[in-house]
Each structure stands twice: as structure tokens, then as C-alpha cells.
């Protein structure tokens, strides 16, 4: 403990683990600590199941199969198959520690019903999106009824084609729109998309949390639509990937990268505390025994330096255990319903659903009701409201660099953006994925 390090990282959430890994790869001497006994901090997957009951201080009144078969994510997110996190996993070689599965279904909620988001390009362009619940037949060809009429489908297809061909650096692909000046709303109008289709595009493809993006430059919406379709093309049926044993595998994978490059790991340090000099610059980290490790800089999540953070919002999340799949999703084993968001995955005869949203009222649990209502009977429900924090300064004075809390988005794009920004604040250098690439080759030989 009483050693000198270049950087001490506090908290083993995904962001801190990626940063720890990249800093170790850069040759920095890193000490990585966590107050909990497990990896992952806020982004952990808890196992065995008893740990979930303990965390939410609930008493378990029935058994749910094998305790260690459960990996319950505290924060629900998926990976976009062509997103930044996948690129980072591949470039760092961390992907070799992990196995993934494609998320089977993605649905969007509209008028109290759920609609399937096209699973592949063929579905998007020909049969298009259909309603799972019978009743609102618009397109006679489809016995379930369709979300879009036949003319709207054609307009939507033209829009998707444009988004696919769009290249920010090639004005020929812009058609007379200025990607930096024309707004997303103008883009929709140009293609004559109706309000329903706009809603669908913004939330189910663009994955926006609200409609603010409509006023911004259209290039961001186009980039998101492109990310969605590139992700679809990447691993087959779905644009979303999920680690086979829960999201908690991700921080563990990057922690291993850090350890391989010399990072030191200490879990179960409940008293870990940052120590400053008179000028307010960091000098080290103390543990509960009073032993101190010195360092030039600290990287941490907001919970280790609350006094240097401000609250910017709240997220409410409900984790539900069920003994059936989500109704009206064709019994999909894993599914995402965007309401704005919600996800589910299967566990041995049991199903786990996580419903989350950004808090907008004084009764957060009621805000989840549209999502909870879709789930059918729920055996067990754990509700939590988490504060969202962000640092008040860039950390350059105190040398304490703080990441932001995990927001309510359903994927890791904003997580990666924060990692890239934090890395730049720490090192004054741009984050370069390719740095580790050449050092992680295994040696493979054959012995007869």
C-alpha cells in the first residue's frame, strides 16, 4: 500500500476500468481500488442472486434456481455492434475474454402497444415494421397490421437509403442539405416523413432520449441511423450485442488488460479516501487502516469525490424477476423495448426485466408504469432511484479526474464519449485505440 504510483483509480466501473487499462498500456504505474468486494461498481452484474436481495435490503421468500446462474446487471445497456465500445474491445484484444449474444428483439412502444423494430434490412425495406398486437390493420397484406402505410414505407425507405449513403466528407451525398446547418426536423420534412415515422426514427433507430435533437444539425441523426444500420450488418440478426454473462464482464475484461500491463488491483477497501495538500492538489489515497499510497493523479467515479460533483438529474430503475417472457414479443429470449428504454434477458426458466427512465416528476416509480405494465406478472421487483452526477471542474488543478454517472441511454455510446473526454483531460492527448494493437498478440505454437 505505501508505494508511489503514477495514477490511482478509484472504483471499478466500466469507465474507470477502460481508463485504467489504457493508462497501464501507456506505461503508467496504476493502482486500482474499489470499496466493494466485487468488480464493476455501479455497472456491476451481481452474483449470486442473494447479493441482489442484500443490496436492496429485501428478504427472499422463495428460491429462484441456482444462485450462481444469476448475473443481475445494475445498469441496463446494450452494445451497438458497430459502436465505439466494440471497436475498443477489438483493438485492445479484450474481446478475447468475452463471449456475446445477439439481442433477439427490439421493440418500440407507441399508443400502449409495442412494435417490432426491423431486425434486418430486408425486414426494414419490405415487410417493414408491424404491430405485434392484432387490431390496427393498415396494410392489408400483413395479417397483424402495419405501423406504416404503403406510401409512408416508400418514403421511409428513401430516407434510410439516404442515411446509408450519407458521408459527411462528400458533399455529393448530401443532396442539397447542409448537414451542419439543416436541422433533423428539416431532414424529415424533406423526405416527407409523418410524425409517427419521425418518432420511430428518432427513438428506435437514433436512440434519442427526447426530441431535443430535432432542432440540432441533421448530421447527428444521420450518423446515428448509419450506426444503427452498420450495426445491423455486422453480426447478423440484431444491431445489439450483450455479454453472455452480464455487463459486469466488461469492466472485468478491461481490468485484466490493466493488470497484464502491470496494474495493481485491490478490492474491498471500504475506507478508500482521497488525500489533498494545502493547495487542494491530490497527494494520495488512504485506506481504512490509515495506510497511504501516493500518486500524481486520481481517476474516480463521482461517488469517491462527491464534494467535487454536482447533481444533474436522477434515473429510476426497476429490476424485475418473472417466470415468463415479456408478452407479445414472440417469446424472445432477450428483448429491448424502447419506451425510452427497457431491457430483458433470460435466466433458466426465469426472466429478468430492467425498466429505467430519466426522472421527470416527484413520483419516479409511477414514471416506469408504462414499462412495468408491459411485463405481465412480476415475482420480485427492486426499485432504485440513482442521482446522476458530473464533475464541477476538469480536474487539472487538483489532479482528480472524475467521470460522469451512467445516464439512462440504452447503449454505451455516451459512456465511451465520457471515457475519451476524461482520457484527454488526464493525459492531454487524444485517445488512440490503435496503441495497444500490436502488443497483445499471443504466441501460439504446436508441440508434437
Amino acid at each position: 500500500m505505501d508505494e508511489k504510483y503514477d495514477v490511482i483509480v478509484l472504483g471499478t466501473g466500466l469507465k474507470e476500468c477502460i481508463l485504467s487499462g489504457m493508462l497501464s498500456v501507456d506505461g503508467k504505474k496504476v493502482l486500482h481500488m474499489d470499496r466493494n468486494k466485487y468488480y464493476g461498481g455501479e455497472s456491476a452484474s451481481l452474483t449470486p442472486l442473494q447479493d441482489v436481495f442484500d443490496k436492496f435490503q429485501k428478504k427472499k421468500t422463495q428460491e429462484y434456481g441456482r444462485e450462481r446462474d444469476w448475473n443481475v446487471d445494475l445498469i441496463p445497456k446494450f452494445l451497438m455492434a458497430n459502436g465505439q465500445l466494440v471497436k475498443l474491445l477489438i483493438h485492445t484484444g479484450v474481446t478475447r475474454y468475452l463471449e456475446f449474444k445477439s439481442v433477439e428483439g427490439s421493440y418500440v412502444y407507441k399508443d400502449k402497444k409495442i412494435y417490432k423494430v426491423p431486425a434486418d434490412e430486408k425486414e426494414a425495406l419490405s415487410t417493414c415494421v408491424y404491430c405485434i398486437l392484432p387490431g390496427i390493420s393498415i396494410c392489408a397484406r400483413d395479417k397483424y397490421g402495419a405501423l406504416m402505410g404503403i406510401f409512408e414505407k416508400r418514403r421511409f425507405r428513401n430516407f434510410l437509403q439516404f442515411a446509408q449513403d450519407f458521408d459527411e466528407s462528400d458533399p455529393k451525398t448530401w443532396k442539397d442539405l447542409d448537414p451542419n446547418k439543416s436541422t433533423a426536423k428539416e431532414l424529415y420534412e424533406k423526405f416527407g416523413l409523418d410524425a409517427n415515422t419521425q418518432d420511430f426514427t428518432g427513438h428506435a433507430l437514433g436512440l434519442y432520449l427526447n426530441d431535443e435533437y430535432m432542432k440540432g444539425p441533421c448530421k447527428f441523426l444521420l450518423q446515428r441511423c448509419k450506426l444503427y444500420s452498420d450495426s445491423l450488418a455486422r453480426y447478423g440478426k440484431s444491431p445489439y450485442l450483450y455479454p453472455l454473462y452480464g455487463l459486469g464482464e466488461l469492466p472485468q475484461g478491461f481490468a485484466r488488460l490493466s493488470a497484464i500491463y502491470g496494474g495493481t488491483y485491490m478490492l474491498d477497501k471500504p475506507g478508500a479516501q482521497i488525500v489533498y495538500d494545502e493547495q487542494g492538489k491530490v497527494i494520495g489515497v488512504k485506506d481504512e487502516t490509515g495506510a497511504m499510497a501516493t500518486c500524481d493523479a486520481v481517476v474516480c467515479d463521482p461517488s469517491y469525490a462527491v464534494e467535487k460533483c454536482k447533481k444533474v438529474g436522477q434515473v429510476v430503475r426497476a429490476i424485475c424477476i418473472m417466470n415468463h417472457p415479456v408478452p407479445n414479443t414472440k417469446d424472445a429470449q432477450s428483448v429491448q423495448i424502447i419506451i425510452p428504454q427497457n431491457q430483458v434477458n433470460r435466466k433458466d426458466g426465469y426472466y429478468l426485466a430492467i425498466v429505467s427512465t430519466t426522472v421527470e416528476t416527484s413520483n419516479p416509480e409511477a414514471e416506469l408504469q408504462p414499462g412495468l405494465g408491459l411485463l405481465g406478472d412480476v415475482l420480485e421487483k427492486f426499485v432504485s432511484v440513482s442521482d446522476l452526477y458530473e464533475p464541477v471542474d476538469d480536474g487539472k488543478e487538483s489532479k482528480v479526474f472524475i467521470t460522469r454517472s451512467y445516464d439512462a441511454t440504452t447503449h454505451f455510446e455516451t459512456t465511451c464519449d465520457d471515457v475519451v473526454r476524461t482520457y484527454k483531460r488526464i493525459t492531454d492527448r487524444d485517445f488512440d485505440f490503435s496503441r495497444v494493437k500490436h502488443n497483445t498478440d499471443d504466441s501460439g505454437q504446436t508441440q508434437e
Binding site: 466494440v86 477489438i90 472485468q252 495493481t264 498478440d441 504446436t446 508441440q447
Partner: protein, 213 residues
């Protein structure tokens, strides 16, 4: 990521099947875990081995009759030092070598703790081998062969004393593990879990069932 195919055979004739297994190393710091792997994979030994090796994992194959067994060997990367080994490390491991130093009684005690940990955390049919390393230093021996052997028998572990320095029993212990591993279904040793997707650099244009290797 080139060069990670199976065993190369001249004239392309694939003899028998190739089974791949994840093998993890466990044991107290400085008992010679990395040295054992380095001896097995590269045939090398360094007197002053750095405490970590900078590789994700190493691979090595051994041939048994008509089967090629490919080990994917995971080193602890030093995460055992403050008891901070991630659960991911054990996940899916089909074999483990628990290493102790025959000149240090404490490391034998720790080895027993690791065996318990494996029985608790790892898959139930994992093959565990116990290696009493640094056998070349038998003049400083603190752990008797018979004591370790009796413990191994009680817990159904494979057991050998090894020396990464002289190469004694190093290949043999891996070979013994290879023989004991179940070799059905192309090496994924008959478990019920669904096949996972491995991400790689190539675009998998609408390939069915992803890109599992």
C-alpha cells in the same frame, strides 16, 4: 489476428479432431505460475522472471493419439496478490493448475484455499491439477511429497511435483490434464450453455449464427 488456427498439418490432411480448453493457473505470488507456462509454451526459463507477463493468454497444443488438445492458458496477471481475482477468470475454465512452492509451507496452505475457491466458483466438472513447483530445490523442501499426494487423492486432483527450471514434469502435467479432459463435441466439453458470439475484426456480412470459432 493471424496465426491462431488449429494445429497445422502438412498437405492439409486433418487428422482426428481438435479440442480447445481454457486452463487457468492459480497459486500464491512467486510460486512459479508464469514460469511453468513459459517452460511449457516456449521451452524457456528465466531465473528472474518478471512478476507479470504481457500477454492476454498463451496457447499451446499437445497431441494425444487422434486428438489435438489446444490449451488456452490464462495467467492471473498478478490479480491474485490482493485477493482481487475477477470471477471472469474462472468462468468457462475446463482445467486448472493450482501451484505451490515445495520450499514454502504457506503456499501449500494457500493452494488448498484456491482448490476450495475453484470447487465453489468454477464449473463442477473442472479438471484440477496440483503442482508442487521448484522441485529442483528439494534440499530446501518444506512440503513433503506424501502430504501433498494424500491431499490430492482426497480431493481427486491430479498431482505432480514440477520444476520450471529443469523442465521436470512440466509437459507431463499438461499431458495428464489433456488425457483427463472429456473430448466430445469439438472440445466444448458437453456443457449446456448456448454458444456465444466472438467479436473479431472482419465484417460478418449477415453470416448465419455469427462468427464463433
Amino acid at each position: 489476428m493471424a496465426g491462431r488456427g488449429g494445429a497445422q498439418r502438412p498437405n492439409g490432411a486433418t487428422q482426428g479432431k481438435i479440442c480447445q480448453f481454457k486452463l487457468v493457473l492459480l497459486g500464491e505470488s512467486a510460486v512459479g505460475k508464469s514460469s511453468l507456462v513459459l517452460r511449457f509454451v516456449k521451452g524457456q526459463f528465466h531465473e528472474y522472471q518478471e512478476s507479470t507477463i504481457g500477454a492476454a493468454f498463451l496457447t499451446q497444443t499437445v497431441c494425444l493419439d487422434d486428438t489435438t488438445v489446444k490449451f488456452e492458458i490464462w495467467d492471473t496477471a498478478g490479480q491474485e496478490r490482493y485477493h482481487s481475482l475477477a470471477p471472469m477468470y474462472y468462468r468457462g475454465a475446463q482445467a486448472a493448475i493450482v501451484v505451490y512452492d515445495i520450499t514454502n509451507q504457506d503456499t501449500f496452505g494457500r493452494a488448498k484455499t484456491w482448490v476450495k475457491e475453484l470447487q465453489r466458483q468454477a464449473s463442477p466438472n473442472i479438471v484440477i491439477a496440483l503442482a508442487g513447483n521448484k522441485a529442483d530445490l528439494s534440499n530446501k523442501r518444506m512440503v513433503e511429497y506424501e502430504e501433498a499426494q494424500a491431499y490430492a487423492e482426497e480431493n481427486s486432483l491430479l498431482f505432480m511435483e514440477t520444476s520450471a527450471k529443469t523442465a521436470m514434469n512440466v509437459n507431463d502435467i499438461f499431458l495428464a490434464i489433456a488425457k483427463k479432459l472429456p473430448k466430445n463435441e469439438g472440445g466444448q466439453s458437453g456443457q449446456q450453455r448456448p454458444p456465444g458470439l466472438r467479436l473479431n475484426n472482419e465484417q460478418n456480412q449477415q453470416s448465419e449464427g455469427g462468427c464463433c470459432k
